[in-house]
């Protein structure tokens, strides 16, 4: 569509329990870094997109508050919500503003301050994010509960074990321990994971991503500007998207997230990627591991392996550096943390830095093909965005 769009600057706050800042201050941390990284300031920005889900935090119109604090008045903005995929949806909007010629430089900032509410309230808010009446009002599903329904079905069909799920957490904590921006910088073992208490059987505490505060920001620019301001623009090669039913019972099966499959198909088609031996195309991936089962589903939904073979990948450590495709070298949502609406932007920041070879040495993927992929799922597979980033300028 239209003009080429590049990421020319990135910023990322420390993720975790950020009692030291409010929502606007937290957004400014990453916004400031992204502007400095791109070498632009507020006067250069034509439009900004604010990704925030909120409700647990106090500001009902966060985009406005962020704009006031960050001196982005009167640029024009909107708050974007696509649940946990809000950040990628915001990136899509920022991308389209530039691709269409409406803007030359746009800021996309994702911010979430989940710890402004007590944990039981946050559990309640997220649980209500399925189909409110038919799932929550009567049956009290929680977010781990929704994904546990997938886990039970998957384990039953393919013989995956709770230990297999824990292997995902072990990998992501291994890399989280090497990411100074991550919420958890501590390695864990399968035994520790297995000993952690059940949250929603068969998922345990260490199968779950935490409640997180954080922000991430990117500066997007047109080709003309990108060429002027940076030697290493990271191009948005393709964005695929799809949605699915609110109510889980209206899905065909619980072995795959249909929205993610469709979004991936669209992204591969737009990018002109040959789907045979897909992993050969990418140096690194960030996938939506809100729960360990979600990462296994992602391997299959993205077509890295066939149905039922994700367990083999994790058992053989094929998604560590040195394997067929390194996944979640940031620590993923599991260890880096999951500030819901900042997550998608955080994935874009991480993959930009991976492609520019700017991350900590121990978690830097070897960059040979110059291509990376982000898989960002909202809700229980309600929304999905698959974004492909590239060092090579897309051909129009």
């Amino acid at each position: 569509m239209g003009r080429n769009v590049a990421i020319i600057g990135v910023g990322h706050s420390k993720f975790g329990i950020r009692t030291d800042v409010n929502v606007a201050e937290l957004a400014w941390e990453s916004t400031k870094q992204a502007m400095e990284n791109a070498g632009v300031d507020q006067k250069d920005i034509d439009y900004y997109v604010t990704s925030n889900v909120g409700a647990w935090s106090s500001e009902p119109l966060p985009a406005v508050v962020v704009g006031e604090y960050s001196d982005l008045v009167p640029k024009g903005t909107v708050r974007v919500e696509a649940a946990c995929a809000s950040g990628s949806a915001a990136l899509k909007l920022g991308h389209d503003m530039i691709a269409s010629g409406e803007a030359n430089i746009a800021l996309v900032v994702g911010v979430e301050k989940m710890n402004e509410s007590p944990t039981p309230t946050v559990v309640e808010f997220i649980g209500r994010a399925g189909n409110y009446f038919w799932e929550f009002e009567n049956f009290g599903l929680t977010f781990p509960g929704y994904y546990a329904l997938y886990a039970t079905a998957y384990m039953s069909k393919y013989g995956a074990t709770e230990e297999d799920l824990c292997q995902v957490a072990v990998k992501n904590h291994y890399y989280g321990a090497r990411n100074p921006k991550a919420q958890f910088q501590k390695e864990i073992t399968v035994e520790e994971c297995m000993r952690s208490r059940y949250i929603a059987w068969p998922l345990k505490l260490l199968d779950c991503s935490p409640i997180t505060d954080g922000s991430a920001a990117i500066i997007l620019a047109s080709e003309e500007i990108a060429k002027k301001v940076t030697d290493t623009p990271v191009w948005i090669k393709a964005i695929g998207y799809a949605n699915d039913t609110a109510n889980l019972s209206r899905r065909d099966n619980f072995l795959s997230l249909r929205a993610a499959v469709e979004a991936a198909k669209m992204a591969y088609k737009k990018a002109g990627i040959d789907e045979t031996d897909l992993v050969k195309n990418f140096d690194v991936a960030e996938v939506h591991d809100c729960f360990t089962i979600a990462e296994l589903l992602a391997y299959e939904d993205l077509g890295f392996v066939k149905k039922g073979e994700a367990v083999k990948l994790i058992r053989e450590k094929q998604t560590y550096i040195g394997g067929i495709i390194p996944v979640n070298l940031s620590g993923g949502l599991k260890a880096k943390g999951h500030p819901i609406a900042a997550t998608g932007v955080s994935m874009a920041v991480e993959l930009t830095k991976q492609l520019r070879q700017e991350v900590e040495r121990e978690r830097q993927a070897p960059i040979k093909k110059g291509m990376a992929i982000a898989h960002n799922v909202g809700g229980t597979g309600h929304y999905a965005y698959v974004t492909i980033f590239s060092l090579d300028k897309p051909r129009r």
Binding site: D20, G127, W134, G140, L141, T142, T152, A200, P202
Partner: protein, 189 residues
């Protein structure tokens, strides 16, 4: 199980939360009284936190007017779905508009109550508004008619459940609220 664990087990998640909240509010009030400000240090980081002095209680009013028949069915112990007279699509949960053929000409079909468990989970950490219940199992079953139903399953031991097992839908009263709902009962084969 030690004696101490037994005592702890008697407290529901709701009671535990209420206890913590009460202690915290008392702490905030004492600080406010002495300093004139509702600002307390965060327990872990020590960072200054303003404790909101306003409280919002949410309780929604949801229209069930067009699917009233479904709820009337529960009173009779029956489970209804809707079926589009034009294209035959069966809808559960019931809806009165068929988006496929843009018609709103539905008939109400009584479901058989017989199904097979597709998946399940046991909710150990509960949302605030469910925190007065013991751990509960939520399952999704496929009914004979080919539609899926989400409901509580009357079994909280995961070892006694398996994907593919036969279940029966039962209309029942949800206590302590005392309203009609439906549950899945595993059938021992």
């Amino acid at each position: 199980m030690s004696a101490q664990q037994k005592v702890e087990k008697k407290k529901t998640q709701k009671e535990q939360t209420e206890e913590v909240t009460k202690q915290f509010n008392e702490f905030v009030e004492s600080i406010k009284k002495s300093t004139g400000l509702p600002i307390v240090p965060d327990m872990k980081s020590g960072a200054a936190q303003w404790i909101d002095q306003r409280e919002l209680t949410l309780k929604y009013v949801i229209s069930v007017d067009k699917i009233r028949k479904f709820f009337d069915g529960l009173i009779d112990g029956k489970l209804y779905a809707t079926k589009c007279k034009q294209c035959g699509t069966l809808y559960f949960p019931p809806q009165v508009d068929c988006p496929k053929c843009r018609k709103s000409d539905m008939e109400w079909i009584e479901l058989s109550n017989e199904g097979e468990l597709l998946t399940y989970t046991i909710i150990n950490v509960k949302p605030n508004s469910f925190s007065h219940y013991d751990d509960y199992t939520v399952g999704i079953a496929r009914l004979k008619e080919g539609i899926n139903i989400t409901a509580w399953v009357r079994e909280t031991d995961p070892k006694k459940l398996r994907v593919g097992m036969k279940v029966k839908v039962i209309v029942t009263k949800r206590e302590p609220e005392g309203y009609l709902t439906y549950e899945l009962e595993p059938l021992t084969s």
